[in-house]
Subunit: 248 residues, 2 copies
DNA sequence: TTGATTATTGCAACAATTTGCAGTTATTTC
DNA sequence: GAAATAACTGCAAATTGTTGCAATAATCAA
């Protein structure tokens, strides 16, 4: 049995039973437990399973996007929870992509009725799972790395929208440079989003506070609400509060 | 035995067993393992198989275990393989959604350079995985059930495209009613796709031949190529051949 | 056709990957 | 905290891959 084949078998077992024991696997395909362990390690490294003492567990069986481990997932979930609380029935919501946005999408309450605009494939996919949410995809050329639509067409469409609230994940934010990023096309799209909504929410893990990148999306004064995983009272956030931002 | 012949044999074995060992192949056709390895390398480079230590796997193998939920998956993979052979470098390809299309997306050779237009979220996601494919998403309101963009905006955008080839999965097709479906909005989109491309390919598992649904997308005469999992010579396909369709 | 050129194939030496084992260390469980 | 179980480490043997090379086969221009 080829190595890949064996690993595929393991994955299958995991997704079937949600958990496996090294011993069982070793038994059923007749290889040493060491080999199984090595396989599990590899699968865990690429984020396909979660390794535990004695075997492995399935990652959430939400497996459409079985991307590698989300960096700092706990913080992002915290942020997402705060963000969800801002969305009310009937709102027009504009969102970018990014892992934090995806977490938010997963946490949306079932009974929420709202219209979501996005140019992100993973985000649209998640929104579409919700029974009461209407999803409008803003199409154009898809940027491979970030899986969002970029280009003039997308920007034009965004400008024709007037959303109540806009959620942006961010790569870097500080007082001096504002929100910054390092991909020209993505920046253009985010800029358009900023302009097209009444209220702007920026979500950022604290690690990204006070860092900046090459291209500017907008100043701190263009943001209405800043969400981090920190307690709103944290002194790291003081400068932003001074500027008049609401901190969650 | 000629090289091409040998590689065809290898491909056949792979698609038959989902995996092959270099040693076995070397044995059964009496060439050195080096030659087999070189063949496997070539086949892997053009994306026809996945090479692993000790042999090779079928491309669809990866998802083979993970995807027990697709109805009639084997047939769909067969269809997808035939479909892929129609796509050449530099083409503008327009596709719908549906499981058969997804299979096709997964089987696209790594080195294929083409531009794909689609309004389907899962399809766009798959296309975006390929290194040399440019993906243009046709946005609009997302239909939950089928995860594709529907509505006037999407249709207008499709009409502005002139694609070389269009691939449609289908729910029902027969001689009398042509291609039919049961969702009004989806039908409008598919109609637009039919009109916007030079060549139209319809993919259908044989089970859906000679069935029809309520809403008509287009007549049989608007189709250029029909792909099913059957042998092209199968007599079930005779009526379509009579009408001048190319059968794969 | 012929001679030159290119492609294909098998071989040999060397490099790498994979696998199981033994000994040791870490973790769990009572 | 001690016994049991699992995990890690280093290692050796077997298998598989790679590379350069020479012999052979296929292709093509004149």
């Amino acid at each position: 049995m080829l190595k890949k084949e064996r690993q595929a078998y393991i994955l299958h077992q995991v997704s079937l039973h949600n958990s496996v024991l090294s011993a069982d696997l070793s038994n059923s395909i007749n290889v040493s437990e060491d080999t199984i362990r090595r396989d599990l390690n590899e699968l865990a490294e690429t984020g396909k399973v979660i390794k535990v003492h004695g075997g492995a567990l399935s990652k959430s069986f939400n497996s459409f996007y079985l991307r590698s481990d989300v960096y700092n997932a706990d913080s992002k979930i915290l942020i997402a929870e705060k963000a969800v609380s801002l969305i009310k029935d009937g709102m027009f919501v504009l969102t970018g992509g990014g892992t934090t946005i995806i977490e938010m999408a997963r946490l949306l309450p079932e009974n929420l009725k709202a219209t979501f605009f996005t140019g992100s494939i993973p985000a649209a996919f998640e929104y579409a799972q919700h029974p009461n949410i209407e999803v409008i995809f803003i199409g154009d050329k898809i940027a491979k790395r970030s899986q969002i639509a970029i280009g003039g067409e997308a920007i034009t469409r965004i400008k024709h929208i007037k959303a109540d609230i806009c959620f942006l994940g961010t790569n870097a934010i500080d007082m001096e440079h504002g929100i910054t990023d390092n991909d020209w096309d993505v920046v253009q799209v985010k800029k358009a989003m900023l302009e097209s909504s009444t209220q702007t929410v920026v979500m950022s893990i604290s690690e990204k506070l006070n860092s900046y990148q090459r291209i500017r999306i907008g100043g701190v004064d263009e943001i209405d609400i800043l969400i981090t995983e920190l307690d709103p009272g944290n002194k790291l956030l003081d400068p932003f509060r001074m500027k008049g931002l609401t901190i969650l």
